[in-house]
């Protein structure tokens, strides 16, 4: 059975590492974007703790998914909200769980719909190592390998908590 570090440790780790990363890479005036829903919750936390000036952007990647023809449109699409142009900016892209990499592919496409960023840094709380695309995170809270019966769920927004569920039947 997979064990997760507690949420406090995970948040502390990504916050500190992101702060160091921004400074070591000299990312001037970065802007943060969170992916609905869990990524946006995590991004709110980071945005507040690192005192970003630009309002937080949020993305719903439903319109950019690659499984529309097999699964159709998600019935509860939320509007994306980006109050700034990513053109020539350093974007910190935040998601709660990185698994196949497909969500990040879709999010990158959507960001490029708004403009061409100078850099994109990917932050994730949990990295499940089952990638289907060549996408890696720059900042990771914890890497885990889940069994087929295990799923990760982030709860929030306040307080944030991350837990592992054991499933008994196929869900998605």
């Amino acid at each position: 059975m997979t064990e997760l570090n507690n949420i406090g440790q995970l948040l502390q780790k990504v916050t500190t590492e992101l702060k160091d990363y921004i400074s070591s890479q000299s990312l001037d005036n970065p802007a943060m974007v969170g992916i609905h829903t869990g990524g946006a919750w995590l991004a709110q936390h980071l945005h507040k703790n690192l005192a970003f000036e630009e309002p937080l952007g949020t993305l719903d990647i439903s319109f950019y998914r690659d499984d529309f023809s097999s699964k159709g449109l998600h019935p509860q699409v939320k509007p994306s909200s980006l109050s700034f142009s990513p053109e020539n900016r350093h974007i910190i892209l935040v998601d709660d769980v990185l698994m196949t990499g497909r969500t990040i592919r879709a999010a990158l496409n959507e960001i490029f719909g708004y403009g061409r960023p100078q850099t994109v840094t990917l932050v994730t709380l949990i990295d499940i190592q089952s990638r289907e695309l060549p996408i890696q995170a720059d900042i990771v809270g914890q890497s885990v390998a889940l069994s087929k019966q295990e799923r990760i769920k982030l709860r929030g927004p306040d307080p944030l908590n991350v837990e592992i569920h054991h499933i008994t039947q196929q869900q998605d």
Binding site: S62, F63, L73, E87, G113
Partner: protein, 338 residues
């Protein structure tokens, strides 16, 4: 959300999702709200530098307009293009239909070219329904106006405009003014407003431009006097005087019509001070609406046009979603980690 107790119908698949969009009648409130929610999200796509999402990439949408249209056809075209679909605009006047090809033959040819959706406008009531039922059941059919029957996408874009500008439908009074008799817009508007919980829907017009049994349309009240009908309403929906549909002399003159039923500052003063003024277009200035109202602060006529793109994007993607989603339990996508 797909309805769990959806009755089998031409417009819905077994999961209660849209597979054709022909009429507001028979659709549940939850589905209309889902269309509005999805359209809300598409509004943000229109604000991007690149106003395009890849949802319908590889799909082909054929615009079949058997009747003149500018706004509806172009906004459907833009909506399809912003969803990355390929768009065919069939100009019926220069197509083989003018050489005598039957409608059925023409549609089956388009089906053989692997079109995925038809957007149909036709002067005959029931045309889109007929195509969906008898001609091309495997193609998603969107009704872009059929005779005097229905214009459901116009109704939904008006609902989106009202919801975004007024916040909702409950406890609000709506007036639809003008040529109700010839108006497919009025029929669809009344159905949509009542389904979404509007407190009161009034229809206002001269007797000659109202159906013989005016309450048959589902409206709550009928007024022949415009000032009386506009009293304290939250939203005024003006209709175009459909001159091309008037086969008999139903009115003494356009001038007389404007005097009695044209929206002027004087008449609008009877509505609430923050009442919205809407019009599906094209507007006949000085016939059903005064220029200073059409261009004035209460008018949302151009917003209706912008929201029309978002609503049509929502309807195109939702009907395509209802067509493509496997009805039987096909192999689910395995998202379990290895």
């Amino acid at each position: 959300m797909p309805s769990t107790n959806a009755k089998p119908s031409l417009q819905l698949n077994a999961q209660g999702q849209l597979r054709h969009f022909l009429n507001i009648d028979g659709l549940e409130r939850s589905l209309l709200e889902e269309i509005l929610d999805t359209a809300d999200s598409f509004v943000s796509v229109g604000e991007q530098a690149v106003k395009k999402v890849p949802l319908l990439r590889g799909k082909t949408v054929a615009n079949l307009f058997f009747e003149a249209s500018t706004r509806t056809r172009t906004t459907f075209e833009l909506a399809a293009k912003r969803l990355s679909a390929d768009v065919l605009n069939i100009n019926i006047n220069t197509s083989a239909a003018s050489k005598g090809e039957s409608l059925k033959d023409m549609l089956q040819n388009l089906e053989a070219m692997a079109c995925d959706m038809f957007v149909v406008r036709h002067a005959n009531s029931g045309a889109a329904h007929f195509i969906a039922k008898h001609v091309c059941p495997d193609i998603a059919i969107i009704n872009a106006g059929d005779g005097s029957n229905a214009h459901p996408t116009q109704a939904m874009l008006d609902m989106l405009t009202i919801r975004r500008e007024k916040g909702g439908f409950e406890n609000r009074t709506f007036a639809i003014v003008g040529d109700i008799l010839h108006s497919r817009v009025a029929r669809s508007e009344i159905q949509a407003l009542k389904t979404l919980g509007a407190a009161e829907v009034r229809i206002i017009g001269p007797k000659t431009l109202l159906p013989k049994a005016p309450d048959s349309l589902g409206a709550d009240k009928v007024y022949y006097d415009m000032k009386e009908g506009l009293k304290d309403v939250d939203v005024v929906i003006m209709l175009r005087l459909q001159r091309e549909r008037m086969q008999t002399a139903l009115l003494p003159s356009e001038h007389e019509y404007f005097r009695l039923y044209g929206l002027t500052n004087e008449k609008l003063a009877y509505a609430k001070p923050d009442a919205l003024v809407m019009h599906p277009g094209p507007i006949n200035r000085g016939v059903e609406i005064a220029s200073e109202i059409a261009d004035g602060p209460q008018s949302v006529i151009l917003k209706q046009v912008s929201y029309g793109i978002s609503v049509r994007m929502a309807i195109l993607s939702m009907t395509m979603s209802g067509q493509t989603r496997p009805v039987t339990a096909a192999a689910p996508i395995n998202r379990a980690p290895q």
